[in-house]
């Protein structure tokens, strides 16, 4: 009868040697191979020409002035703000002043953007192909039986996923097939990869997923599809907004120092 607490199935200890270890070893080896393949496949970062560098870094300077405006006296900040706002508005730092009104560069045609997209796609491919292959291999060779008991309870819905080959009604969900061992390994081998390959390895699936979810990450401010002129104008506006308030950090510093010491 269905007793949730103590369904025991006697297992051949040879199951460990022939199923659990091989799956784990194969996953570790494919992870390491994937890491090296990714490292080798990545193309060199594109050399940017002088105008592009100039554009990027002057925009960064605008951001710096805005973030740290309290550190310098009001007159200095005001002088910088006025000149920066004027320059940004007339597009003095644009790499390509003629393309002001045009729509943003299409990643398909812009070579710099193309590179970044290709790198992202290569990374994705390197992740998906091994996963698909291993799952297919496990389904082919290791299906039709349960192999282990999970130490934590789960709901009934997981039965179809974790007991894929075994069609019973009464078997406790805690008994799972080898596919679930694959899933457990997928998440658990991260620390093993950190140990073998050092800290930021490309076999780490979680890091790749988080990078994809964070749009402000890899592509950066100057990735494909960004209009530099709009960014300059936005920065000019930000500077004007910030310019209304200025609290020089050196006001009252002598009192603070005397209080400290």
């Amino acid at each position: 009868m269905t007793e949730e607490a103590s369904q025991m199935i006697l297992r051949d200890p040879q199951l460990f040697y022939w199923i659990l270890f091989p799956i784990t070893i194969v996953m570790i080896v494919t992870g390491v191979l994937r890491h090296y393949a990714t490292v080798l496949m990545q193309s060199d970062p594109q050399r940017q020409d002088l105008k592009a560098i100039r554009e990027q870094r002057n925009l960064l300077r605008g951001v710096n002035v805005r973030s740290n405006h309290d550190q310098i006296p009001y007159q200095s900040f005001n002088a910088r703000k006025t000149s920066l706002v004027a320059e940004f508005k007339r597009g003095a730092y644009l790499k390509d002043p003629d393309s002001v009104g045009k729509p943003a560069a299409n990643p398909m045609t812009d070579p710099a953007g193309m590179d970044q997209m290709m790198n992202m796609m290569k990374g994705n491919m390197a992740m998906i192909i091994p996963q698909t292959l291993i799952m297919g291999w496990i389904n082919a060779f290791f299906s039709g039986f349960v192999i282990m008991k999970l130490p934590f309870p789960l709901t009934i819905r997981f039965k179809s996923m974790l007991q894929s080959g075994v069609a019973t009604r009464d078997l406790d969900v805690r008994w799972v097939s080898s596919l679930s061992w694959y899933f457990l390994n997928l998440f658990g081998l991260r620390s093993v990869f950190n140990f073998i390959l050092g800290n930021d390895n490309s076999a780490d699936q979680m890091a790749a997923q988080m990078q994809q979810m964070n749009p402000a990450g890899g592509a950066g401010m100057f990735g494909p599809g960004q209009d530099p002129n709009k960014m300059f104008l936005a920065e000019a506006e930000n500077l004007e907004v910030v310019g209304g308030q200025h609290d020089w950090i050196l006001h009252g510093v002598e009192t603070r120092v005397l209080d400290l010491y």
Binding site: R47, Q48, D49, L50, I53, R54, R57, N58, L60, R61, N64, V65, N68, H69, Q71, I72, P73, S76, I249, L250, H251, G252, V253, E254, T255, R256, V257, L258, L260, Y261
Partner: protein, 303 residues
Amino acid sequence: MSLLKQILDHLQKHPQPLKTPASSFQLARFAPAFLQSSDSHKDTQETWLVYEQLLLACLCVEDDVSASKLLHTLEQRFGSQRSRIQALKGLYDEAQATDDRELVEVLRWYEKLLQEDPTNLAIEKRRIALLTSLNRRTDAIAALVNLLSHSPTDAEAWAQLAELYRQQGLYQQSIYSLEEVILITPNAYNIFARLGETYYIASPNDPEQLADAVRHFCRAVELCEWYLRGWYGLRLVTGRILKEGQGMKGKEGLDRAKTERLYHVAGERLKTIVRRAKKGDKGWTGFDKGEVLAAEQLVKEGE
């Protein structure tokens, strides 16, 4: 412990190995042994870091034989087209030059490289350094301004420009450049101290400027409790304000009472630093000996 580990250990303990001739010599003496050992053939990031540091140290102490061997190995590994390798080769050539004419040859080489690849930042900086050592200050300043027009986020370049302006006596421009450094790294207490020094040098008699100098020094010691130059500057400028007497009122907030208290606090701090540095207490040995002596002198004058 392998030789590589020893050198890395040394570099970690002495993060500025080339600051004085003595410390450069300490590092350079590793070079001949390192070149002989098997560690020099490993192909890891650490090895090449050690190569670069040893090369710079050998150039400082004129160990040209080791330097040329190190440079040669670096060129073979990374190719002589890499900008970093080109900069190191330029350094080596400058060190080998015996007179100004040869230095000008190296300068021409730099200019040729820059024409081929205007984004070669390492060579651009080397060229500026060479112009400075050739005493062509106005050319160096012009070249720096050019560099900063396309890389205004380079704090090192702004700091160098501030130094060059200060040497030419252009104090307002020097202050502008130092402020740019602050905008990039707002917690750089040494730059605040430098600003204080520049305000003081620029106009030692103007009460407004002196008050600003005091404020900058205060910020420096607010950020770093035992910063010797900060306390020294504070003591010096407050001492001057108090000595010049009634004529100097200063901006709001910096009245005579506060100035006196700052003067005394700075004096106490300097005395503590001098005492503990001279005794060689643990944790107090990092101060530069010359600076400690100067601080001692200043405090004695005030007594």
